[in-house]
Symmetry: C2
Subunit: 382 residues, 2 copies
């Protein structure tokens, strides 16, 4: 029944026999050159020209005023929550349907994830459902938002642009602004994605990115934050370098700091990859169109596409199956045939460590959890 | 007055004019080759052959049964404390005279650093002073050690092998064992250093290493832990990969996890650097001998050397000045002449965020804080 999918994917990736992964990195630009150059410079650690260049490129690409290179995307969320003022005991709103790193990073702040529902069409946090939910559970005292039930401060909201599909981020930020909740945008999967012409990660107070091995572009391990707030950008650099106060030789530190800066070796690769971002995203959008055409007359399988006014990087293409039984059959069949497919994440509120966290109605998240599957989405330029 | 030091260092490093740094990395082996190979393999992220090879090499070099490659040394301490069972609210014994990362990592566990004194000759945590201190403040209930004054559990002890000089680690572990306190050995600076023929980092429950840019060997950013405990090693790999339970496609996570694994790109460089470790340490020991000969008849300046039965990597050579005034003059003079020197760290208990932490008498740490200065120590093989 799913043989046509297998055939189409093998045809599309021009690979008749071998295993086809979900996403593999592609190094066809200046990766080798820049990495060797970093080694020759002996500046391989967190100070170096490629780190500076990477940060400038991130500003150019996203349109943000400031970018800070970090060691990975998980730490980028953790740092951003600290910068947003999240304190131990706070609650932080986020999607129940997300990768576990989002919720883990909230836990690093000794804050509690508070799970809310997503929109079915974006797979991202729903502004309208959030608004209704906050009307019910939130109260504002002295300009600070509290959960009426738990009496805890709602310290931040972390929406996530799932698989690079932009969510309704402008409306989401508007709702959060109304409730004085700072937005940390998890754009880990959405480098190259924009909404209404503005890059994801630049709508909220801070945006976070990941350059892990499975992402659209990668530098082995890496992350970044972007912001338009100069004081936050300065504080970010300070906290991620063990909070050391500059001095010609003395060691003074004025806060609990972290070792979160991206090494120059990795930044060299990141610069080479960013140079190719546009062509990669173009290629991925062509692939999504091919999948769309292939599935458009299929009554069982639907390709998930960007919403109006969104421009997705289509990091990972995703299909919607009819139900969990069909989803499982699809997964079993395609993987058995050497074509890698993978279900969307399980809901966060089902995990042992988050099972007692507060949550809204999660109807859409539950619906999607049982039906969404990722299909091979590597860049095909070679 | 310190012109002879400047002259000697310029002579020793065969550098007449240019700035001489404290420590610069040296890439004269297979660094370029292995890094390109990692790029060509497309496995640049946390799964890859160089990560495996690096872990095997760390086992061979240290003699530990298990090694786990991590993103940096700070995270290595954090992870080790979690593995050792440190819980929020615990106290963790460590040196007041250490780099801030040690104390920060304790804070990440929501535990409180409890500062103790060092031995003057090793610059590391003093077994004899610790023993006397614990006799006064500790009580054991049901096999668990508590601070009598605060009623908090003493969850671990983190001694640090300062500048690669081994401390009296066997005695230190014996004292901690007597009090049922697990030892996490901070060997960040001591790769290649041993005590009584055994590699530093292998005396306690877990040992931690750093491969930051300024270390004896570097991979841009990187760290590792070593242990002989199989269950801890397994748990370490689990927690550092977001605590994901292995499954052919499902996402299940059973604990708060972290993104702490070393990327294969960095591991490739680490393997090439580890291949050269022995020759680097040999070269550094020759340099220390040269400094020793130079300073041996100097009544004002004394080179700090390894104690009997210790074999130091002499990561950073250190001299002891007569007092703070002389130290400041030495720092001013040498740095003005383009020869980089740097004082040892300020005491942790003086920093704003740690000023209310419990502490023992710190006479030795205070003495050393005012007098110890690092001098240029790069590997000179070229």
């Amino acid at each position: 029944m799913y043989q046509d999918t297998v055939d189409f994917i093998r045809e599309t990736f021009q690979e008749k026999e071998k295993f086809i992964p979900l996403h593999e990195p592609l190094f066809i630009g200046n990766e080798r050159k820049y990495v060797l150059d970093a080694i020759d410079s002996t500046f391989v650690s967190s100070v170096g020209e490629y780190v500076n260049r990477f940060e400038e490129m991130m500003c150019q690409i996203t349109g943000a005023k400031y970018a800070i290179a970090l060691v990975n995307g998980t730490n980028a969320i953790h740092l951003s929550l600290l910068l947003a003022g999240v304190k131990p005991g706070d609650e932080v709103l986020t999607q129940s349907l997300t990768f576990v790193a989002t919720a883990n990073a909230i836990s690093y702040c000794n804050a509690t994830p508070h799970f809310v529902d997503v929109d079915k069409e974006t797979l991202g946090l729903s502004p309208s459902l959030l608004k209704k939910y906050l009307e019910k559970i939130a109260v504002i005292k002295n300009g600070v938002c509290y959960n009426k039930t738990t009496n805890k401060k709602i310290g931040a909201c972390v929406p996530m642009h799932t698989f690079g599909l932009p969510l309704y981020i402008d409306e989401l930020v508007a709702v959060c602004n109304e409730y004085h909740i700072p937005v940390v945008e998890d754009a880990a999967e959405s480098i190259g994605s924009s909404f209404k012409g503005k890059h994801t990660g630049t709508f909220g107070l801070i945006g976070t990115f990941s350059f892990n091995g499975n992402k659209t572009i990668t530098c082995g391990g890496g992350g970044a934050i972007v912001t338009n707030d100069e004081s936050l950008a300065k504080k970010a650099k300070h906290l991620t370098t063990q909070a050391k106060i500059p001095h010609k030789w003395e060691y003074k530190h004025d806060a609990i700091g972290y070792n979160y800066r991206m090494p120059n070796l990795n930044a060299a690769m990141a610069c080479a990859q960013l140079e190719q971002l546009n062509s990669y995203v173009e290629d991925k959008r062509v692939l999504s169109d091919l999948y769309f055409d292939f599935y458009k007359n299929n009554s069982e399988i639907e390709l998930i596409r960007e919403v109006s006014e969104a421009h997705a990087n289509y990091w990972l293409n995703a299909v919607l199956l009819k139900d969990k039984t069909q989803r499982d059959e699809f997964l079993e069949y395609t993987n058995a045939k050497g074509v890698m497919t993978r279900p969307i994440w399980g809901l966060m509120n089902k995990l042992e460590m988050f099972k007692d966290c507060p949550k809204s109605d999660l109807t859409n998240a539950k619906y999607l959890e049982e039906r969404v599957v990722n299909i091979p989405s590597s860049v095909r330029l070679k």
